[in-house]
Amino acid sequence: MKRRRSLFIHLSYIRILAKKFAIVILFLTAFALMLLNKTESVILEKTSSLATDLVSPIVDLLVVPARAIASVYDYFGEIKEVYKDNQNLREENKKLLNLYDKMKVLEVENKLLANLLNYVSPPEARYITARIIAEEGDAFSHSVIAYTGNSNAIKKGQVALSDRGVVGRIDKVGNMYSKILLITDINSRIPVMVEKNRVRGILAGDNTSIPKMVFIPLDAELNIGDRIITSGVAGVFPSGLPVGQIASVEKNNVTVKPYSNLNSLEYVRIVDYGLEGIITNE
């Protein structure tokens, strides 16, 4: 009887020890994963992409009823605005048709001048439209997952655009789903410039909705509302893509409000400009 009791005590003691040991092992695993992530290990990257590919279809499935409910709500919300929108669109269409004519003339003129100067034009872009199936936004990271289909054209570092401008770049590529790092994420660094005076800088995300423009020359003349476009430095993003406009200019702190509404992305265009840049898969 006494022996059985002591065996029971031993077993429960071992159980407690094993539990504590498991917690320590899991903490060590978490730190090891973080360290591996820091070293940008290819194995971890591939495993992570594979895992995203496995989990994303479930989120994709859950999105369908959520989208249906949201679309019914939006339908009734937007029905009031239709007449006003229609009038605005007609006006806008007139302006755009004028601009289109001017653009066509300029395009021909540009081609002729480029031929005259033997200018080598950048490679033609290829577009892939992808649907956003999951978005993550909290204090620690800003990213979205897009359904890119079985496309081999998707590569790490490619630009993701909305209808208004740059939203981010491809961070992880899976077989069917890819993770896009938004320009507001703390890991995002984009070479940009001010459109009007070509002042260069880096757009650095800080996990808030308004990223900062850093590494700007001290004597740079910046004003609120100035358009910010990509500068094309480093060869990851092509130059001239609209990013946002300056929201505030303070001493050592210039913030940029992105043109794209990063909270309501439904579709993005992933653009392959054939630029390898400094980001590669290997």
Binding site: L33, K38, V55, I145
Partner: protein, 172 residues
């Protein structure tokens, strides 16, 4: 014989229910909201689920469930791999030591407990991620996320309570 087998399958299903439901809630929290502030107001669903189930049913929601939830969050999010696992383990450790003070208490006390423990967990996560990036992350979004998680706790715990009351039976 068949009854015994059915009973054991049912018991097995019931043991997995909290983890599966928590997984579902986490996956749902990643659905695009198309809402103006959605990039900052997503509640920390993982923290709420771990807190709720460890407080109410520690017998069926264990370290294994916590690790699975942490790994799933790591896969879905863009934070450095292992960060979410770390934060859920911190909460688990805190609950192992302090959980008894909130167990079986009125809802307001458990809510208050969540407010305290999730604050400590998010601070730990903020510190670890800041060390990882070698720079302090903005603190305001962390507090914003914290406040929203605390505000969302009653709704999320209500959903969990529904599962607990209707899908899980107490073992005799």
């Amino acid at each position: 014989m068949q009854d015994e087998m059915a009973e054991s399958v049912k018991s097995y299903f019931q043991r997995l229910t909290p983890m599966c439901f928590s997984l579902l809630l986490i996956l749902l929290s990643y659905i695009p909201l198309n809402f103006i502030l959605s990039s900052n107001i997503r509640p920390a669903v993982g923290l709420v689920c771990v807190y709720y189930w460890i407080i109410h049913r520690p017998d069926i929601f264990n370290l294994f469930s916590v690790s699975i939830l942490g790994i799933l969050e790591d896969i879905l999010s863009s934070v450095p791999m292992g960060t979410n696992l770390f934060s859920l383990l911190v909460l688990y450790m805190l609950l192992l030591n302090l959980g008894r003070f909130f167990n079986g208490k009125p809802f307001i006390v458990t809510w208050y407990g969540f407010a305290i423990l999730s604050f400590l967990t998010l601070i730990c996560k903020w510190l670890v991620v800041s060390i990882y990036y070698s720079q302090f992350l903005p603190f305001v979004p962390v507090m914003f996320s914290y406040c929203f998680s605390v505000a969302a706790y009653p709704i999320l715990s209500l959903l969990n309570a529904f599962v607990q009351n209707y899908l899980i039976q107490d073992e005799a």
